[in-house]
Symmetry: C2
Subunit: 319 residues, 2 copies
Amino acid sequence: MNVLVTGGAGLIGSSLCRRLLERGDSVVCVDDFSLGTPRHVQDLKKEKGFRLEKRDVAKPGWHKGLKGPFELVVHLAANSDISTGRKKPEMDLERTLLTTFETLQAARALRARGFAFASSSAVYGYEPVFPTPESAPRLHPVSVYGAGKLASEAYISAFVENYGLNAWVYRFGNVVGRRLTHGAIYDFVAKLRRDPSKLEVLGDGRQRKTYIDVEDCVSGILHGVAKSPAGKTHAERFQVFNLSTDGATSVREIAEEAARVLTGGKARIQYGESPIGWVGDVPRTSLDVAKLKALGWAPKLDSLSAVRKSVADYAEWSK
Amino acid sequence: MNVLVTGGAGLIGSSLCRRLLERGDSVVCVDDFSLGTPRHVQDLKKEKGFRLEKRDVAKPGWHKGLKGPFELVVHLAANSDISTGRKKPEMDLERTLLTTFETLQAARALRARGFAFASSSAVYGYEPVFPTPESAPRLHPVSVYGAGKLASEAYISAFVENYGLNAWVYRFGNVVGRRLTHGAIYDFVAKLRRDPSKLEVLGDGRQRKTYIDVEDCVSGILHGVAKSPAGKTHAERFQVFNLSTDGATSVREIAEEAARVLTGGKARIQYGESPIGWVGDVPRTSLDVAKLKALGWAPKLDSLSAVRKSVADYAEWSK
């Protein structure tokens, strides 16, 4: 299968490209290295069937020179660092939404059949039903990032109807693993390396969110595409799945694990007073993943195990 | 009250500006005259408290030189001609979404408190529940225009959380009246003027959609803002209302009315075979408007009466 991956040098993209090559696919990996880095895919460069392209997928016509058709485009590129979106909403609009729009335009031009998209639990905003199903009655995102993800879903839905694409939209929990580019674990490791005596945590640490290991996330993406093929109606061609673990992990658990691994538990952890880490932070996320599980997929690691593995792997990777 | 209206020279904007001036508000009416025309607000220019500004609200910084604060920004500017969005999705993205994003940025800069937005039943796509409530479990738009409206809602929701705006989002049915800029009545009148002997209709004419008279639409916008003031939580500060009549009117009824008024019923009406008028057309729309009605609002005209009045008024206006 010919697969095009945007954001291919990021956390999820770099694992996805590996998995696709292992199963014999040809992969064009596109990244602008704003969050992802060439090091994330360095070992893949020698693989037959792998091609790395430095391109900014927010630019109209970014696909020029690439040759289709692609059986599948997996669009992962985004400003995945949610807290910065507030300071620069115009940057987040460009990185999180316009990347999607221009990748949809590229998918048309490159005669792609399938389009898989990295959406987010952030589309649900403060939805009060836990675990939250895909059919939640409110999609009112509270971060600029979440807005960009819901906006992206909307344009994908319209492109499915108008231009013959088939789409799989995955609303991810917090995805963690070895090649982190942002997030709580990333921040905690950096802070503890700067000063192993203490760890300052944004917010009171009681936020509880659902985490998933990047390898389970990649399995879920490919499982949905394989086991829920597109039908004829719009509903059968635009499919939405939550993708995470059943459980949730608190920021306190993450902070303690980071302090344990990096400093043998010696760092003093200092919590803030706010129930959220920043404006637009959603203090509790829990996703109902029954829809994808009904297709035979299940994560190998639960939420806390995924966090622990990521702390250990990223601490080693980032040495 | 100081009110800023984007798309103020369009069908809805020109009626809204009139109503606001009548109740003593000061109005800054912004339009780029791409769909709206200066003639629509010509008679308002002599009114005290009215200011007309030709500006393109998709351009960053379009508000430069305007002075806030505004109590209310009503954002109506969009590419409201749905069927053209398919041919030029990048145009629709700019006119329907980027106008919203840049008006949100303007609202921040102009220290606006309230933000009322013209969304659309198009956000519901092929939602099969009729009448469709605001809490419909799927928001999967099938037109590029509908995508731009849902994307706009998403960014408004995030701006409410991040930058202190209060928002009222209205998902309109088909709004009709005297100063039409597009749509079935507009097209039928133009066709019958070119050739009074026949009227070719896109699609089989069996599409049934909900219509509302522009004056009732304007009443609904102002009623919601007045009677459902913002509270403290995000849910109380980002409020979504369907805004239309209870009933629906078929394209056949509209075609027959146009042929009757324009040609005394002599035009032969020729229908197509498709159940939709164009790709992305939703053949049936019906909105549950109980939420706004519970606040004491009700339309004066039903769907068919609104259509009939618009055919008569627009035929006269466009002579």
